[in-house]
Symmetry: C2
Subunit: 390 residues, 2 copies
């Protein structure tokens, strides 16, 4: 497992920064709430004109965190003011603990203090934490106002900024409180990814791999072939982001509020969330993407144990994740050992529970995942005992 | 203005308790989110079967307040358990200050502690405060779960329980944070109205009058003719509740998220909210319905000043409200005088503001209200000066 502070600046030694040969655009089709995801280099500098084109006359509140503010806020503010958009800014502490009721209240208060109206917008500049929190604040302030995502991490660009899920954590679990609230625009400036630490980039890559594993075996092949180029910042990087966004957009369009197909996006997340909870959301031990990586490896091995998938596929998945610098075993998490009971308790509290039986995303092989609604908790316990005894 | 503690028990001396000759049912048509409002006597005793019929297999959390719990909680719990519905209960302090972030967090935590799932439901037993708070909690816990309204005040039965507006207050204003979240069922047991204080009943009656003033002049005639019977608890009471619910349901069906027509329901509310804020939501000085009563009287007099309506209509409105025991003048509010600047500041922060101009519901006469989007703040200031100098 990659060590070190996830907020440390990037090294990226030995390769050129990301260069994109063209700009990509992905449309999320949701009727009157449809919107574009723009993917390209230097898009923050165009944020003002892109926002003004979609929300004419809107004023904005930019919500960001202390780390991202240092890197990108100045450019965003210049772009907004250049397009004649009046803006104010709220800078919050960086880190998962910011996704709390206290910071929701603070964000809503900043919106009200700025006197934003329902036709105005909140702009989230940052990773998944800022996007989820600012999105939730924009969903509930005055019962819903405009929202724009400017994701600056790989995880946010391929996952959390797309699809309208917003929310916060509580001591009882991650994302247990929130709203479905679609953005009016997602601006993914891939140049911001050059500022990520290798660990943070790898964590986001876990969500990229997920789309291949859900139902795009060809994309998994592409990733196996192009992993080095994607990490090095070649045009394959933006291509992988585009395909990831298309995959997510297709699922969201089919099932906006997660009554069915959308649940497949949780591949690796039931185990992953439980692990994150077990370490108390301590990012030094485990960040979200790493939890998802272990969770996807577990989902594949659990599927093998249930006689659904082959050990060969599970091995191929784990090998690819490890090659990307991601953990695939519970034992790879540094610090005190995590017990079975702690994990079962966390799984039971997870929101993807239905009437006492457990719901998991299982798989029949790479790109053949499915929603299994009636998993027996005893089966999970037996599987975890095996995993934890290794 | 009626004096006394709004939570004091009802006197209702000299008349029989409310008796309903038949049960009413009003359908709120919102496609897949359509639902019934049942209006009748003793409906709480049928809550279990009515909930089970609409949300089969659901478990529930009942959210109520200390005052209502003493009066009605036991019956509701018996009814739920009689229908085989597992329930837990959260009892909160009574009063407007309960509509806060702190109590939202507490309510969400109770939902999570009860391990409710998205197919389960929160049941709000109480007035508008409990309905708005519990509804908001049900909207955001796990990004939305089932919700049932059991309104026990006239105001909640004719207004706040219908239409899916939920929310809380912040120090910056009332209902500035919330969600649109429709209930699966509204159970209006008119027998609960016998437990209201006369002041509380009158406050709810202000919202009944509002429907006549918006666009139902015949209903206003009905109210002028039957006010005494409605207050005394005759069958006209349930009839007035039914017509009020139909009026609100029609508006909500046409404009669920308040992009246009629904705004008419705010007749009297821009001034009313400003007055409530000016007294710091001190219920001893002013409760919501009283604010709306003064607000409706002001909206009519403001319309007269603007040359839109006749003084005769404004006088008829004020006379009816006064006969119902409701205030119609700012000066009727006890305590320190309220200044123009305080009111203008509160109006500007109100969410019904659009790009600097003020939005008011004005009227061309009884039942002829309309949305006026570009009101000049100077006109409002001049009008308030006149009102405050009296």
């Amino acid at each position: 497992m990659p060590a070190g502070d996830p907020s440390a600046p990037a090294a990226h030694a030995g390769h050129a920064p990301a260069r994109v040969d063209k700009e990509h655009s992905v449309r999320v089709e949701l009727g009157a709430r449809s919107y574009d995801i723009l993917i390209g280099e230097g898009l923050i500098d165009r944020a003002g004109t892109e926002v003004a084109a979609r929300l004419p006359g809107a004023r904005v509140l930019v919500v960001t965190d202390e780390r991202v503010a240092k890197l990108h806020l100045g450019r965003l503010e210049i772009a907004l003011s250049g397009a004649g958009i009046a803006s104010s800014t709220l800078v919050l502490p960086a880190g998962e603990t910011t996704k709390s009721f206290a910071h929701l209240e603070r964000s809503v208060d900043a919106i009200l203090e700025a006197r934003l109206e329902r036709g105005d917008a909140v702009v989230a500049l940052g990773g998944g934490v800022i996007g989820d929190l600012a999105g939730f604040a924009s969903a509930v302030a005055k019962r819903g106002m405009g929202f724009v995502q400017v994701p600056t991490t790989l995880l946010a660009q391929v996952d959390s900024s797309v699809g309208g899920k917003t929310g916060i954590n509580t001591p009882r679990g991650k994302n247990l409180v929130g709203a479905f609230h679609q953005p009016a625009l997602v601006l993914s400036d891939v140049a911001t990814l050059d500022t990520l630490s290798p660990r943070e980039f790898a964590a986001g890559y876990a969500e990229v791999v997920k789309y291949g594993l859900i139902d795009r075996p060809d994309f998994f092949d592409f990733l196996e072939k192009n992993r080095a180029a994607i990490f090095a910042g070649g045009p394959e990087r933006a291509e992988a982001i585009r395909i990831s966004c298309e995959a997510k957009a297709a699922v969201v369009a089919a099932d906006e509020e997660e009554h069915g197909a959308r649940a497949l996006l949780n591949l690796g997340h039931t185990f992953g969330h439980a692990l994150e909870r077990a370490v108390g959301y301590d990012a030094a031990r485990l960040v979200h993407g790493e939890g998802v990586s272990i969770g996807m490896a577990l989902a594949h091995r659990f599927s093998v144990k249930l006689g659904l998938a082959t050990g060969q596929d599970a091995g191929r998945v784990a090998a690819h994740l490890r090659a990307a610098g991601l953990p695939t075993e519970i034992s790879a998490i540094p610090g005190p050992a995590i017990g079975r009971e702690t994990l079962m308790e966390a799984i039971a509290q997870d929101k993807k529970v239905s009437r006492g039986r457990l719901t998991f995303i299982l798989t029949r092989g790479i790109g053949r995942s499915f929603l299994a609604g009636g998993v027996d908790p005893a089966e999970v316990e037996g599987f975890l005992d095996e995993e934890l005894s290794q």
